[in-house]
């Protein structure tokens, strides 16, 4: 097997919550709970989950924007959280991010040139303004924007165009990894398709690796090769997109898939039945226990581990 481009190794991330009592130890919110992932060059990896499940935290850690509480991330074999700051800065040219909000992710006070050229600072060599301008013009035309728009400001563009600017910014250093955190969810359907197409074209062209984070199952299914489902900071199921969507094993994945409303009014699918929790949840329980309709006694006092099950990884005692 090829060496993975990104190796996420047993990452935990805790956030301290405000105390409720004065002399209490600050309670901890565990955003990520032992995440292990490998991303391979040229593939798309999808991360799916509901809001607050920790998928954005994971993205920030992969981007070295946040430090994990424990565990680490290797990029191309290099430990991101154990290297000099200057080196990390140069390494950053290899992984860039595309954000969700096409309005908030571009500095309104900077022109396109300023925005798109910013990651060029991570390059080892210093570029002249003219060189930078050339780079920017080139990348702009690649993402389908006018190369002469460098002096315009974000507010002069539509949402879809802004997201193209954001993609241009992420691509200008020719990175190998792009983390796309809900990158199309704020866009209208018709524009979303344009941007998705663009991203896929670029992947093909530059052999990009995508870490594609979304709550939209259909988009993830459409874009990715591999997918992991996260629930409360843990991966509950992981596998190839095709397999996972065809035959979800974990009850949570099944619930998710069933919940997506079908555009075909004739398709009255199997509905999720309201779950009446049979067991009281404890600290040792499976995190999904209170929403699971397949829970058995074993789930109460044991948290399932992510184990291989028919080619997929699934963390459930009762996986079918």
């Amino acid at each position: 097997m090829k060496k993975p481009l990104v190796k996420i190794e047993d990452v935990y991330k805790d956030y301290q919550l405000p105390k409720k009592y004065l002399f209490q130890k600050a309670p901890v919110f565990r955003a990520l709970h032992g995440i292990n992932l490998e991303l391979h060059q040229g593939t798309s990896f999808g991360i799916v989950g509901e809001s607050g499940c920790g998928k954005s935290t994971l993205a920030r850690i992969v981007m070295a924007l946040d430090e994990p509480t424990s565990g680490t991330v290797f990029f191309d074999g290099q430990d991101l959280f154990n290297m000099p700051a200057a080196e990390l800065k140069h390494l950053r040219r290899n992984f860039q991010m595309v954000f969700q909000d096409p309005y908030g992710s571009l500095n309104p006070r900077k022109n396109v040139m300023g925005i798109v050229a910013e990651p060029l600072d991570t390059l080892k060599e210093k570029l002249s303004y003219a060189q930078k301008k050339e780079y920017v013009a080139q990348i702009l035309s690649e993402v389908g924007l006018n190369a002469t728009d460098t002096d315009k400001f974000p507010h002069e563009f539509s949402g879809g165009q802004r997201q193209r600017i954001a993609i241009a910014r992420a691509l200008i250093t020719r990175p190998s990894l792009i983390v796309a955190d809900e990158s199309v969810s704020a866009l209208d359907v018709s524009v979303q398709a344009q941007v998705l197409n663009l991203m896929m074209d670029l992947q093909e062209k530059y052999n990009l690796t995508y870490m594609f984070i979304s709550h939209d199952l259909s988009v993830v299914e459409y874009v990715t090769d591999q997918v992991a489902v996260i629930y409360m900071g843990q991966i509950v199921e992981q596998g190839t997109t095709k397999a996972l969507f065809q035959r979800p094993l974990h009850p949570y994945t099944q619930t998710l898939l069933r919940a997506v409303p079908d555009v075909n009014p004739l398709n009255k699918k199997l509905k999720n039945m309201p779950v009446i929790p049979l067991f009281e949840k404890t600290l040792e329980s499976c995190s999904f226990l209170d929403r699971c309709n397949k829970a058995t006694r074993i789930c109460v006092n044991n948290a399932p581990e992510l184990l291989e099950n028919e080619g997929q990884l699934v963390a459930c005692f009762n996986a079918e």
Binding site: E50, S51, S158, G159, G160, Q161, D188, V189, S190, V191, Q192, A193, Q194, L196, N197, M200, H215, L217, S218, V219, E221, Y222, V223, T241, K242, F245, Q246, T255, L256, L257, R258, A259, V260, P261, D262, V263, N264, P265, L266, K271, N272, P274
Partner: protein, 328 residues
Amino acid sequence: MTLLQVQDLCVTLNTAHGPQEVISHINFSMDAGEKLGSVGESGCGKSITALALMSLLPLDSQTKGKIILEGQDILKLNSRKICSIRGNRIGMIFQEPMTALNPVKQIGAQVSESIYLHLKLTRKQTLERVTELMDKVGLPVSRFGLNLYPHQLSGGQRQRVMIAMAIACNPDILIADEPTTALDVTVQEQILDLIRELADSSGMALIMISHDLGVIAQTTQNVMVMYTGNIVEMGSTMDVFQNMSHPYTYGLFSAIPHVGSSALPGRKRLSSIPGQVPELHLRPRGCNFADRCSRASKMCKAKEPMATRVSDQHQVWCYHPLSCEDKK
């Protein structure tokens, strides 16, 4: 029986570019108990239409046309009469359950407010009614007390409170404006089920507004597809979604990736609609979609299309509607 009839509704809003007509010449009607959907991309005017029905548009806007609720034109009523319709005859659920609830009032007080305003019940009756409502929306008082504040609830629970408020006076019409857009997909399913059930059980008419074709498909009987302030296609949900005739509707459907796409062999490009939704002040003459439409002719750019009947319950506003072969 026709409950609501909207005739030639036009709304002009004050924008940075001066007054702009954001919806023009909307016509539709709905019967008691009907579930009507309104779908389109952002800026198509679907929310404005709903706000116009509630007379909730900004004061500096202008509304023309007629909105007839059981023979009474809402637009001609004075503000006091309108207040007696809002929340009483028509209830509304908004998109953001985070911001749509008053953060400093207890949920019980917020739910009972419209009961107190419109039904003039005694304190005890009001309390009973609130308890009943909370039960209905799945927030039984026994577990969720009425003295909670909105910030103590999750998004789905807040949306349930919103629903309780909207149906508190058994309105004739319930308008749900993107009620699940801010929610997770599993919660969305529950909320949609709840709305559907409530509408069915009480015979309320429902206007469901969403940009999500799936939501509309699963909750409505009839649908209107809107684009830049116009209805471009309208009919029974079944007809429109199965047999879309407007190039825009078709474009929308083709642009979304469907669940199950991974089962299909190979990876297909999504077919996107070229260009983007024109800004308000840049809307073209003629058919607003003409600039993005591959079928557009000279006529499309010159004159707005009139309604064309596709079938009994299916109209399209297009000079060149798609036939079955075009979609293959």
